[in-house]
C-alpha cells in the first residue's frame, strides 16, 4: 500500500517543516485541527465508495450536521441539568449537540442510500439534492430560529493540554502534542482512521465491503447481501460526516454561519481520491492539504534563516490563493494519472440490481 507516493514532494519541505514546528508555537495541533473535518468527511466518502456508492453530498451532510448540532446544543441548554466534566469541559448540551449532529447526518445518509440503492436514482444527483437541500434548509432555519436569538450557544469543547513531560520528548514530542493538544473530536480522528484501516483490510466486514464495491454480483453469489451491506455502510458513513459537522460548531467555533463548511466536503472528496480510498491515505492527504496553507502563512510570520532562507522566500512569494487551490489541483493531477494513479473501486456509481428470484 504505497499511500505515501507523495513523499518526494514532501521530502523537499521536510527541513522547513521541522524548523517551523520549533519556532511557531502550536502549528502542529492547528494543522490537525484544520484537517479534522476534512479527514472525517473523507472517512464518510470511503465508507460510501468502498461499498460502491458515490457520495458528493458529504458537504451537505456536514453542513446540516453542523447546524443541527449547534441548534440542539444551544436550545437544550436551559432545560438540562448542570453537569460538567473536567475533561474537555464536557457539558450536557454539548453532548446532546454531538448526538443531534450525528443523527442528522445519518438521516441524510439514509436518504442518500434510499435514493441510490433502492430507487436506483442517479447517485450524483442524489448528492446534489443533499447539498442543495442542506444549504437551503440550514439557511432558512438559521434566519428563522437562530438570528432572532443571537445569544443562543453552548460554547465549545476545550482542548486537552498534554503535560510538558510528554511534549518535551525529543523527536516525537511534537507529534504527540499534535494529536493530544486537541478537543475530543479531533483527538479521536486518529483512532477512527486506524480502526477503519484495520477493519477495511483485515476483517471479514472489510473484505465483504470491498467485494461489494468492486464486483457486487460476485459478492452476491457467495452469499453477501449487497443491498443490506451498502445500506449499512452508507448510514454508518454518515456518522463521520456528522462528527465533522459537530466539530465545526461545537469544537472549532461556537457559532453557525450559512455555508460555513465552505467546500470542506469537496476537499474531503479530494482527500479520498488522493489517499487512494484508504483511511490512512485520506488522513495523510487531509494533513498535506491543510499543512500546505499553514506552512505558507507561517513562513511569512517567522521567516527562516541560513540555508532555508531561499526556500522560505519562495514559499512566501506564492500567493495564498494557490494554497487554497492546491488540494483541487493535486486531485486532478492524480486522477489524470500524471503523477501516480488513483483508481476508484470498480462498481462505484452503479446501482445494484438483484437477479430476479427463481420462483
Amino acid at each position: 500500500m504505497d499511500v505515501l507516493y507523495g513523499i518526494p514532494v514532501i521530502g523537499l519541505l521536510f527541513q522547513l517543516i521541522a524548523y517551523l514546528i520549533q519556532t511557531v508555537p502550536n502549528i502542529a495541533p492547528i494543522i490537525l485541527a484544520l484537517a479534522t473535518p476534512i479527514a472525517l468527511g473523507a472517512l464518510c466518502g470511503i465508507m460510501n465508495e468502498r461499498s460502491g456508492v458515490v457520495n458528493i453530498g458529504i458537504e451537505g451532510m456536514m453542513l446540516a450536521a453542523a447546524f443541527a448540532g449547534f441548534v440542539a446544543a444551544g436550545f437544550s441548554e436551559p432545560y438540562l441539568p448542570e453537569f460538567e466534566l473536567e475533561l474537555f469541559n464536557t457539558t450536557a448540551p454539548l453532548l446532546i449537540g454531538v448526538i443531534a449532529a450525528v443523527l442528522t447526518a445519518m438521516a441524510l445518509s439514509l436518504l442518500h442510500a434510499w435514493l441510490s440503492i433502492t430507487i436506483r436514482a442517479d447517485q450524483i444527483i442524489s448528492g446534489v439534492i443533499i447539498n442543495v437541500a442542506a444549504l437551503g434548509l440550514t439557511g432558512y432555519l438559521n434566519r428563522l430560529v437562530v438570528t432572532p436569538n443571537p445569544r443562543v450557544g453552548a460554547g465549545t469543547f476545550s482542548s486537552f493540554k498534554p503535560p510538558s513531560e510528554i511534549t518535551d520528548i525529543p523527536v516525537i514530542g511534537w507529534i504527540l502534542d499534535m494529536f493530544l493538544d486537541q478537543g475530543p473530536i479531533a483527538m479521536s480522528v486518529i483512532l477512527f482512521v486506524i480502526t477503519l484501516q484495520i477493519l477495511l483490510f483485515r476483517s471479514r466486514w472489510g473484505l465483504r465491503t470491498r467485494a461489494v464495491g468492486e464486483h457486487p454480483k460476485a459478492a452476491e453469489t457467495v452469499g453477501i447481501d449487497v443491498i443490506r451491506l451498502r445500506y449499512r455502510n452508507v448510514v454508518i458513513g454518515g456518522i463521520f460526516a456528522g462528527l465533522a459537522g459537530a466539530f465545526l460548531t461545537l469544537e472549532a467555533t461556537s457559532s453557525f454561519q450559512n455555508g460555513m463548511t465552505a467546500g470542506r466536503g469537496f476537499i474531503a472528496l479530494a482527500a479520498v481520491i488522493f489517499g487512494r480510498w484508504t483511511p490512512i491515505g485520506a488522513l495523510g492527504a487531509a494533513l498535506l492539504f491543510t499543512s500546505a496553507g499553514a506552512i505558507g502563512r507561517a513562513v511569512g510570520i517567522r521567516p527562516p534563516t541560513d540555508e532555508l532562507a531561499q526556500l522560505g522566500q519562495l514559499l512566501e512569494g506564492i500567493p495564498n490563493e494557490f494554497y487554497q487551490a492546491l488540494p483541487y489541483l493535486i486531485t486532478i493531477i492524480v486522477l489524470a494519472g500524471v503523477v501516480g494513479r488513483s483508481v476508484a473501486p470498480a462498481a462505484v456509481g452503479q446501482p445494484y440490481e438483484r437477479e430476479s428470484k427463481a420462483t
Binding site: V54, I125, V128, A133, G136, Y140
Partner: protein
C-alpha cells in the same frame, strides 16, 4: 408509507433484466402517443407533478417552521407566501422583466448542463465556467470600456465566452485522454476558478481607485436595454436565441447526432466510426461556452464588475434547471423561467409573508428529490408516462468507477 415502499419494490421487480443486460436502466416504455400534444404531456407530466408536489410539501414545511418563530399560527401562511411570490415574479411589467433577467443566466447554464447530459456528461463545472466567463467579460469589458458600444459589447461577450469554453475544454480533454471522470474534475475546477478569481482580481486584473478589490467599470461594454424597456438588457435575447440554436445543433446537425450517439452508447458510436474522445472534448467546450456566456450576461447585464469573493448560485441552479427541463432546450427554457421567477419573487415574499428567501433552495431540493424519485410521483398521480430519468444520464454516474483511458 409502507404501501408506497412496497409499490416501489414491485415496480423495481417488474424489471427482469440485469444491469448488464440493459445498460440504460430498462424501464417499461410507456405507450407512445402520436400527436404533438400527447407527446408534450407525456414528457412534461412528471416534471410538472414534481413541481406541484414540491410546493405542496413546501407549504407543510412553511406551516411547521412558522411554529418555531413564536408567531401566531396562520393556516393561510403558505398561500400568502406563494401568492406574494407569484406577485413578485409576474405581477406587472417590472417584475416580469426581473424574472426574465434572473432567468437569462439560468437558461444558458441549463443549456450547458443539458447539452452535456445528451452526450452522457455530467458537467458539474458550470459554476466554474460561469465564473471564468464572468471574469473574462469583466476584465475585457473594462479594457474596452471607451470603444464604441457595439465593438465593446462584442469584444467583452466573445472574450467571456472564449474563456468559459477554454475552461470547459479542460475537463473534456482530461476525460478524453486520461479517463479522469468529469464529475470529480469539474467539482475541483469550480474551486480552482474561485481561487483564480480571488488572485487575479486582487492582483493583476484588478482596477485601482476602489475601496475594495474589483475590476474596473465596464462603460460602453454594458449590455444595452431592449428598446422601449427599462431594465431588460439584450443578454436576455441572447439567452432566448440560444434555445433554438442548441436545439438545432442537437437535432439537425451531424455533430448533434454524434453527440447523442456517444451519450447513448459510446461503444456503438466508436463502432460506427465516430470518435467519442473528440465529441467529448468538443461538447465540454460547448458546455463551457454556454456556461461562460451565462457569466457574461450576468456581469455585463447586471453587476458590471467582479470582486474577489464573487459568489453565485447559477452554476448549481443550472443542474436543477436542466434536470427539470429533461435536458430538452424547450424544457430548459420553461424551467429556467420558473427558477428565475422564484429568485425574482422571493424578496417580495420575504417582505410580505416573513418567509426567508432561502425557502427557494428548499423548494429546489424538494423538486429535485421528486424528480430523482419519480417512481413515487408517477404512483401518486397515477401517471402512465415516461419517468424523468434523463436516459442519457445513466451512463454518467455508472462510469464513475471506470477510469480506463480511451
Amino acid at each position: 408509507m409502507t404501501d408506497a415502499g412496497s409499490s416501489v419494490q414491485q415496480e423495481l421487480e417488474q424489471n427482469p433484466a440485469g444491469p448488464e443486460a440493459a445498460a440504460p436502466q430498462a424501464r417499461i416504455p410507456p405507450p407512445q402517443s402520436k400527436s404533438l400534444w400527447g407527446r408534450i404531456i407525456q414528457v412534461s407530466a412528471v416534471p410538472i407533478a414534481a413541481v406541484l408536489l414540491a410546493f405542496g410539501v413546501g407549504s407543510i414545511f412553511i406551516l411547521g417552521s412558522s411554529l418555531l418563530t413564536g408567531r401566531e399560527f396562520d393556516p393561510l401562511l403558505p398561500w400568502i407566501a406563494y401568492t406574494s411570490l407569484m406577485f413578485g415574479a409576474f405581477g406587472g411589467l417590472n417584475p416580469i422583466v426581473d424574472t426574465m433577467v434572473a432567468a437569462a443566466p439560468l437558461i444558458l447554464g441549463g443549456l450547458a448542463l443539458g447539452l452535456g447530459f445528451k452526450a452522457g456528461l455530467f458537467n458539474i463545472g458550470a459554476q466554474g465556467q460561469f465564473l471564468m466567463g464572468a471574469l473574462g467579460a469583466a476584465y475585457v469589458g473594462a479594457s474596452v470600456a471607451d470603444l464604441p458600444t457595439p465593438i465593446a459589447i462584442t469584444a467583452a461577450v466573445l472574450a467571456g465566452g472564449a474563456v468559459g469554453a477554454a475552461y470547459g475544454f479542460i475537463p473534456g480533454m482530461l476525460k478524453a485522454f486520461t479517463g479522469a471522470h468529469e464529475v470529480v474534475t469539474t467539482i475541483m475546477l469550480n474551486f480552482i476558478a474561485a481561487a483564480i478569481i480571488a488572485y487575479l482580481v486582487a492582483g493583476p486584473l484588478g482596477a485601482e481607485g476602489f475601496a475594495f478589490a474589483r475590476t474596473g467599470p465596464i462603460g460602453n461594454a454594458a449590455l444595452v436595454n431592449v428598446p422601449g424597456t427599462r431594465n431588460l438588457h439584450i443578454g436576455v435575447l441572447l439567452a432566448l436565441l440560444a434555445v433554438p440554436i442548441v436545439w438545432w445543433i442537437l437535432e439537425r446537425t451531424t455533430f448533434g447526432f454524434e453527440l447523442r450517439t456517444v451519450g447513448a452508447n459510446p461503444s456503438a458510436a466508436r463502432y460506427a466510426g465516430m470518435r467519442p474522445a473528440v465529441v467529448t472534448m468538443t461538447t465540454m467546450a460547448a458546455c463551457g461556452l454556454l456556461a461562460g456566456l451565462a457569466g457574461v450576461v450576468e456581469i455585463l447585464g447586471v453587476t458590471g464588475f467582479i470582486n474577489t469573493s464573487y459568489g453565485t448560485s447559477v452554476g448549481f441552479d443550472s443542474i436543477s434547471v436542466a434536470l427539470l427541463g429533461r435536458a430538452h432546450p424547450v424544457g430548459i427554457l420553461f424551467s429556467a423561467i420558473l427558477f428565475g421567477a422564484m429568485r425574482a419573487g422571493a424578496p417580495e415574499m420575504q417582505l410580505d409573508a416573513g418567509i426567508p428567501v432561502e425557502i427557494i433552495d428548499v423548494l429546489q431540493g424538494i423538486i429535485l428529490l421528486f424528480l430523482a424519485a419519480d417512481i413515487l410521483v408517477r404512483r401518486l398521480f397515477r401517471l402512465r408516462v415516461a419517468g424523468t430519468g434523463v436516459d442519457e444520464l445513466q451512463t454518467v454516474s455508472r462510469s464513475y468507477g471506470e477510469q480506463a483511458p480511451r
